[in-house]
């Protein structure tokens, strides 16, 4: 599967700056879509996506939709469970390191938490997120730049049930902000390797979407309405399904679902 996706990456339609090996790249400036990544525990997949998108200079925040943060424990029936919004990655890291450093190093948890604590303070729960609350006190978070308004243009979930939870939650909230948001699910299996592949795919998707959004912004005035035809005239919102369709061809192993919802 890796080869399939790998080939696809090189054939990426988005002419965005090529990612350097460590994921860092030059900030091209200009318009940027604001992203939000969501998985179950705001630990592995959403944080991988958070980091990659932040390194690609996108404004990004991340959440989990689970009731609690669940991490594997010594056996399958003894997971390590933490509260959202109240536990920092650092404290989880220190707790697990004290419990059994060998086990948690071997299963990659410490490595993951070590990464996460450099991205933001702690796991946040989607359902507790007050959309539109200014996030001005989070300067140290990766991907903070541009996220001050506390809203996102694109929500990327990493699992169907997270997508369901997000949509269900948005329906229940009743969309008081009147702001459209594209909610896209990418099915990523919950392991480190797949999360990494998924992170790459997210950046690819982000690049493709941002490119389209940028094109829309660059068209000014009457030209935007009259010049060209078809795809060139279409707006960003209209082109999102098309971009996802193309992206899906490049990443056939990460099935995607999309909808337009309201904050």
């Amino acid at each position: 599967m890796d080869t399939a996706n790998g080939n696809a990456t090189t054939a990426s339609a988005a002419p965005a700056a090529l990612a350097q090996p460590n994921g860092h790249r030059e900030d091209p400036g200009g318009f940027k879509l604001k992203f939000c990544t969501v998985c179950a525990s705001n630990q592995n997949r959403s944080m991988e996506g958070h980091l990659r998108l932040a390194l690609a200079n996108y404004p990004v925040i991340s959440f989990g939709t689970g009731s609690l943060v669940r991490l594997p424990g010594p056996t399958i029936t003894q997971p390590n469970v933490y509260k959202f919004n109240e536990t920092s990655y650092d404290s989880i890291y220190r707790e697990l390191e004290a419990k059994d450093p060998r086990l948690y190093r071997a299963n990659g948890l410490l490595n993951m938490l070590g990464r996460n604590r450099n991205i933001k303070w702690g796991p946040e729960r989607w359902q507790d997120w007050q959309v539109g609350m200014p996030r001005v006190k989070k300067e140290t978070d990766k991907g903070f730049e541009g996220m001050e308004g506390g809203v996102a243009d694109i929500v990327i979930t990493c699992e169907e049930r997270c997508w369901d939870a997000v949509i269900d939650d948005l329906l229940n909230r009743g969309s008081p902000l009147n702001r459209a948001v594209h909610v896209i699910n990418i099915d990523i299996k919950d392991n480190h390797e797949e999360a990494s592949v998924g992170g790459k795919a997210m950046v690819d998707l982000a690049d493709s979407l941002n490119q389209v959004a940028k094109e829309e912004r660059e068209k000014v005035g009457a030209a935007a309405f009259d010049s060209g035809s078809g795809a060139a005239r279409a707006s960003f919102d209209e082109r999102v399904p098309e971009v996802i369709g193309e992206w899906q061809e490049r990443w056939p192993n990460l099935p995607a679902t999309w909808t337009l919802a309201w904050f």
């Binding site: 525990s41 689970g66 269900d168 909230r173 009743g174 459209a180 919950d190 392991n191 309201w262």
Partner: protein, 770 residues
């Protein structure tokens, strides 16, 4: 076009962004900053400034940080600018989209203001103008603008229909027709409701037309939930409309990637709305819930049909891609030559030698040359069918053919083993570097990949499994891997030895033993004890533990306690003494007997917990102990500890403290235990100190004297001892003794008299002398 040409637009935007940040940091600045930027973003400004301004207005009017009061004043102050933005900007979708979004947030706020301040006709005129402007541009507008129009219409419907009061009270969602008084000078509730109904119809038009435009369909569906939930007058209409909507209509058009995305999106969005309705809004008695349920199920079935078809086709394609042509015909052709079948015993089949290099296990066991058969995946046949085929084949197979095939495989394995030995030698010589077949832990397939089907995203545990399995990913290469680094070596089938179990020190062992012992007693409380009346008398033929009741279980427990380490204790004890010699202070039970001792302790506790009814258990246990001691003695094991006496004494001591005059069980206990000793009976003497229990002790002894002749002398000795020690017991003791040891009492009396004479001799002599 720019209003302030002196300052470049980029500089202006930078300043505006700084102002916005200030407002975000402190909501108190919102009012001032919004009012301050209004002139900059007016209709004559450049397009960049207008875009920024419209988006800032949309953000400000929607922000959750401001209270309704603050928002009212803010909203009223921007209406004019909003109106002019909407009217002047004909073309730019971004400005229109954001302005309409701002208007959607403004509408309920203004309506609320008008409800309470009916004099303010100006504000009502402004918002009415904005509304009619938006509704006018709705139809011909580009998609993003239409999105905003849908949302605006939804907010108007929400504000102009009657609420059932179930909505949350924020963001203006609670502003509804219920708040408008019937005699309001500006607002006519009936007209407003009529307008709302019309707008709702217009919104739902996209569904009624069964549009393929997923963007508009999704946008509409995703804002209907709150209407259905909190505006009862709309819910019937909406639900009927959604139920008649077929999101899978696109299935008939070509399945382009985009179409797939659109169709999936509409189907899933519709389904999510319906599930949300089922979960939250529609009470179970509602006429709709059954239909909604059916609709959701039908959608899921259709979706599965449409999208799974592709999956099924791919499977067929995979088989075709095996590139072995028509499998069936090839099999027919080469069957006789390929497989050693009974049809061709005359021409002996040739078993081809293996190609050099690493082999798969399948290759080693493959005897056929037929590529079609080689490619056949036997795992696709169900296991029970395989079993039938194998049984029948083996039944009809010629023995010589089978031997031939088995020998062929055997020789292959020998070859591989030889190759493995040389390879191992090479490996040892060259070290680990550059070994071709070594498994790389970083790229080794994870277990996760294999059990794709088991992946169940609805189970939290599954996620954890995968994360655990995934530890392979980052685990450092384990040393054990080296042994299997060469697949040839793995196939060598050398002698296999289990790794020795980890050493357990005495401490851990004793802990584990007592844990195991306590497990043994776990079931006792739940096991039924058959009443004495029901107990079948199997007599001498009975088996110790033939039924699963409490008695049987206790038998098991007593035998585990007494016999399980028979013969081991001696060795242990020797080891222990030598160990003690070497390291002083190591005091503990010998390893093997820890378990027994734990069980004994627990049996002891179990009996004493309720000793009267459990006296039988005690007797059974002591019988086992005695039997075991006898066996130990007979086998002549020296140093082996004997347990009977110890535990009999402990048990008796245990009872003694609780015994009362009525406890005939003591008599029974003493009569039934297999061996008595002086010490044991001596314990009875303590009972004689108390006049209450004296009788019991004496009766027990009498019983022994009468009914247990071998113990008669012992018992009489004890009675004698009692006679000597306890004055109060003398009458009773004398009675027994006179019967069973005639003359003994008199003899004792004489002795005592003599003693007394001897003791008081001095005095007596003196008295006589005096």
């Amino acid at each position: 076009m720019a209003s302030t040409p002196a300052v470049p637009i980029e500089e202006q935007l930078k300043q505006l962004n700084a102002a916005r940040k200030l407002a975000l940091e402190n909501s108190a600045y919102y009012d001032r900053i919004v009012k301050g930027v209004l002139p900059v973003i007016g209709p004559t400004s450049s397009i960049e400034l207008k875009r920024w301004g419209a988006e800032f207005l949309a953000e400000s009017l929607a922000t959750p940080v401001l209270s309704m009061r603050d928002k009212e004043s803010l909203t009223l102050s921007v209406l004019d600018t909003l109106k002019s933005l909407l009217e002047s900007e004909q073309d730019d979708a971004i400005v229109l989209k954001a302005s309409i979004a701002a208007a959607a947030s403004a509408y309920p706020v203004v309506l609320r203001w008008i409800i309470h301040n009916s004099y303010h006709t100006e504000a009502w005129e402004q918002i009415s103008a904005i509304k009619s402007r938006i509704l006018r541009i709705w139809d011909g507008a580009p998609a993003p603008v239409r999105l905003s129009c849908i949302k605006f219409a939804q907010r108007v419907v929400l504000a102009q229909t009657t609420s059932n009061g179930q909505e949350v009270k924020y963001g203006g969602l609670d502003i509804s027709l219920s708040m408008v008084p019937a005699n309001h000078p500006l607002l006519d509730p009936r007209l407003m409701e009529a307008e709302a109904t019309g707008l709702l119809d217009r919104m739902l038009g996209v569904l009624q037309d069964n549009s393929n435009d997923a963007l508009l369909v999704d946008a509409t569906l995703n804002c209907l939930s709150i209407l259905i939930r909190t505006r009862p007058s709309t819910s019937n209409r909406i639900i009927n409309c959604v139920l008649n909507f077929n999101p899978l209509k696109l299935a008939n058009s070509p399945m382009t990637p985009k179409n797939k995305v659109l169709m999936k999106s509409m189907e899933k969005t519709t389904r999510m709305l319906m599930i949300n309705i089922l979960k939250r809004h529609v009470d179970p008695n509602n006429q709709h819930s059954g239909r909604v349920q059916q609709y959701v199920e039908r959608l899921m079935r259709s979706r599965a049909e449409i999208f799974d078809e592709a999956g099924r086709k791919r499977q067929l394609a995979d088989q075709a891609a095996a590139q072995y042509g028509d499998l069936k015909r090839q099999k027919m052709q080469d069957a006789s030559a390929a497989a050693p079948e009974p049809a061709a015993p005359a021409q002996p089949a040739v078993i081809p030698p293996l190609a050099p290099g690493p082999q798969t296990l399948a290759a080693v066991f493959t005897l056929t040359n037929n590529p079609g058969l080689q490619a056949f995946d036997a795992t696709s046949i169900p296991a029970n069918l395989v079993a039938k085929i194998v049984a029948r084949t083996l039944n009809t197979l010629d023995q010589s053919v089978l031997d031939f095939a088995v020998n062929g495989i055997r020789s292959r394995l020998h070859t591989l083993q030889a190759a493995a030995v040389t390879a191992a030698a090479q490996y040892a010589a060259h070290g680990a570097a550059g070994l071709p077949g070594a498994i790389n832990p970083a790229t080794a397939p994870l277990g996760v990949e294999e059990d794709d089907d088991d992946y169940e995203p609805n189970l939290d545990a599954a996620e954890d499994t995968e994360q655990i399995l995934n530890k392979l990913d980052n685990a450092p290469p384990e040393t054990a891997l080296d042994e299997y680094a060469d697949p040839n070596a793995a196939l060598g089938l050398g002698p296999f030895t289990l790794a020795p179990p980890p050493l357990i020190d005495a401490d851990v062992a004793s802990k584990l033993s007592s844990a195991a012992a306590s497990r043994l007693f776990g079931p006792l409380s739940s096991l039924s004890s058959e009443g004495p009346s029901k107990k079948p008398k199997a007599g001498i033929n009975r088996l110790a533990a033939s039924s699963y009741d409490r008695d049987s279980w206790l038998t098991v427990a007593t035998r585990l306690a007494t016999r399980s380490t028979f013969g081991l204790e001696e060795e242990e004890q020797e080891e222990q003494t030598s160990a003690v010699k070497s390291e002083e202070g190591a005091v503990s039970y010998p390893l093997a007997s820890t378990f027994n001792q734990s069980i004994r302790e627990m049996l002891f506790t179990y009996i004493l917990e309720d000793w009267r009814p459990r006296i039988e258990v005690a007797v059974a246990w002591l019988s086992e102990e005695w039997y075991n001691d006898q066996l130990t003695k007979r086998t002549g094991l020296r140093n082996a500890p004997l347990h009977y006496e110890t535990w009999a004494l402990r048990l008796l001591d245990g009872f003694m403290t609780f015994i009362t005059a009525q406890d005939k069980v003591l008599t029974r206990f003493l009569a039934e235990i297999p061996e008595l000793s002086g010490e044991l009976l001596g314990r009875l003497k303590t009972l004689c100190g108390d006049p209450n229990t004296l009788g019991l002790a004496m009766t027990s002894l009498l019983y022994l004297v009468m009914m247990r002749p071998p113990a008669r002398e012992l018992a009489l000795d004890t009675v004698g001892g009692i006679w000597v020690e306890y004055e109060e017991a003398r009458p009773l003791a004398a009675k027994y003794l006179s019967k069973w040891r005639p003359g003994w009492v008199e003899q004792q009396m004489h002795l005592q008299a003599a003693k007394a004479v001897a003791g008081g001799g001095g005095n007596g002599a003196a008295g006589i002398a005096a």
